[in-house]
Symmetry: C2
Subunit: 101 residues, 2 copies
Amino acid sequence: MQPKCCSGKQGVRELTETADFLRIIAEPNRLKIVCLLREGAKCVCDIWQHLDLAQNLTSHHLKVLKDFGIVSSKQQGSKVIYAINRKVLRKFSNLLNLYLN
Amino acid sequence: MQPKCCSGKQGVRELTETADFLRIIAEPNRLKIVCLLREGAKCVCDIWQHLDLAQNLTSHHLKVLKDFGIVSSKQQGSKVIYAINRKVLRKFSNLLNLYLN
DNA sequence: ATATCATATCAATCGTTATTGATATAAATT
DNA sequence: AATTTATATCAATAACGATTGATATGATAT
């Protein structure tokens, strides 16, 4: 089943949404964050220390990921814990397979 | 098996390569081209007419895709036929699944 | 109340890349 | 040879997004 990407409202919308997702995880630091968080939820300081990334930059990338729904966060004391949203990841994994397989 | 993305030369290299691939297909017009070419090989004029994209811009995006190995091309008379390189697509599809599944 | 730690925001800069317009190349047709 | 058709290249611009430095917010501890 190939997606009809270039014709039909549905197809074009799916393709656009997929491209948006790709643009977000195409950034190496963000892909690293995704990879890291798949091992388990982590606070911001753990993330930027692991990745040797500036704190504010890490925060920014996390915001981008969160705005798209790829990660979620919860306050825990003075820390903020970020976690992967596996449902979203799976959704786009499936969409992508339509384009690549 | 999770990729050890943040430690180890191998892991970082794979992640970088994957991000490079993603950056290329994250561009909506290029993703459309990929989608279109999966239906079958096409000449440039067929592609830009289907996508309502300027000829030179189409040519540019095709070059980006070709440089990365995602598509290949062959001259056929006055036309140039572009085709998907399914092997490359599959390779990155598999890599991606490591990060998303 | 103050100091410290963790995180977020903001403005500015810098780099990359998509897009545009013009032009070049090259094959086919007349 | 001249024209047309198909494709590629190039320079310039415009848009976008990553990075940086400074600062703000908010929670905890003293």
